[in-house]
Symmetry: C2
Subunit: 263 residues, 2 copies
């Protein structure tokens, strides 16, 4: 299925219209069933749906290793995915559901309670080290790969990378979906995420940090902005965040020890 | 509470770092209780929370007129909102939940089923008419208002407008939250949304179209891209969509009858 559609539009320039065709990113609801129970409807670009489903379930903690997956079937035309797991699963949980009843008496309840609620553990320091040029090169490679964004202006890109280059890349109308397809690919192909870099076109929000921590990814690089909560979490969870990576400039927000400065 | 935070960062330029302060958009989870039942946690910029809560409930169909609201209390420091409604409410529903069991046998199931599921009705034609210059002026006014975006690069803007100018404007780290604050303001101030224009910085996705249709807004103007599903829905729901409004150029995708062309 094509990732975009051609539509007839009127283009206006200086008040004057003309009719032409334009390419629009495809958006479609896809419903995910786990062990025959309806879990979620993801509104996405209907492509790489196996990767999307597995990455979503991995990020939600419903799958944690390839052997947890028994079977996956995709009906792309009707937007339906069925996943069978090796063992029974708990009910789908709210991503950022907080433990309200235990919310008082800590210094920064907002963060601690999101963290506590999902049992996230800090990513180990590891030996991943990048030069500033590695960072700007990865962002440039992401931009080069972003065909759907260039043709429609309506897609987000996400890649898994090593310091030398991009390992896998996906685009989707949804910022979270693009990110989810990356661990989905790794899950299907038995590729470890630890020691790798998540390279994104979109903003670095708290939910993206939660995904990265759950996946054990020690570094996030994006051409967009981070949020305050994402940075609090990155600090505590041992994740390096580089934002606004554009041309040869970027901002390094957290855990600078993974960047090798020029002396 | 400030909408942004100052953080210490390292800025890199051509491989060389220097330390400085940078302004980051504030993101914080806020939990919404309706009639003492926990309904949702919205991850948002903690500002205008009354507007956010009411707009969210209005968009979800849980509130439909100002008299449906009995009481609203906000605790901004702990991120808690309590809403009491005049009559008991049904359980919170999934936004784009589809009626899977009745999914076969229609030409374009994707759209019809989202539509059917929520009982959306087309927006009446009405007498709203804009010139191409009205459209580009409204987008320019939105850009002028976007202080949080200019200082952090991490916020979305949403405004309600008449052809002559902006009536109210909000910014939020979440694209949907910014949009929700607009009807929340209208709800609090008894301002009708029919015959008005929603002016956005972010992309026009199907969920934004659902909100607009539910609010009876006949036109959406954005500097960003629309999606294929949003355009299908706009076509069927009688909503004019103008996208990529930048400088004196824009694309008109649906219901062009509301634009007065120069002859």
């Amino acid at each position: 299925m094509s990732l975009s559609e051609l539509v007839k539009i009127k283009k206006y320039n200086e008040g004057r219209p003309y009719t032409c065709e334009d390419e629009v990113v495809r958006e479609s609801p896809v419903t995910l069933f786990v062990n025959d129970r309806e879990l979620a409807t993801l509104v996405c670009t209907p492509d790489s749906l196996q990767e999307l489903a597995l990455g979503f379930l991995f990020g939600e903690g419903i799958l944690s290793a390839p052997q947890d997956l028994k079977d996956i079937k995709v009906n792309i035309n009707d937007g339906l995915i069925w996943v069978d797991t090796a063992s029974p699963t708990p009910a789908g949980q709210n991503f950022l559901k907080r433990h309200i009843t235990t919310c008082c008496g800590k210094g920064r309840p907002t963060f601690y309670f999101i963290n506590d609620a999902r049992g996230l553990k800090p990513v180990p320091p590891g030996d991943l080290r990048l030069t500033p040029d590695n960072i700007t090169s990865l962002a440039a490679m992401l931009e080069d790969s972003a065909r759907l964004f260039r043709s429609t202006g309506g897609a987000h890109g996400a890649a898994l990378a090593s310091p030398e280059g991009i390992i896998t890349f996906y685009e989707d109308v949804g910022r979270h979906n693009a990110v989810d397809k990356v661990p989905g690919f790794c899950f299907l192909n038995n590729i470890p995420l630890s020691g790798k870099i998540l390279v994104l076109s979109g903003r670095i929000s708290a939910e993206i940090l939660i995904k990265a921590a759950r996946l054990g990814v020690p570094m996030i690089v994006s051409r967009s902005a981070p949020t305050s909560l994402a940075l609090q979490m990155a600090d505590e969870l041992g994740i390096t965040v580089a934002g606004f990576v554009r041309g040869r400039r970027f901002n390094l927000y957290t855990h600078p020890e993974r960047i090798k400065d020029i002396n």
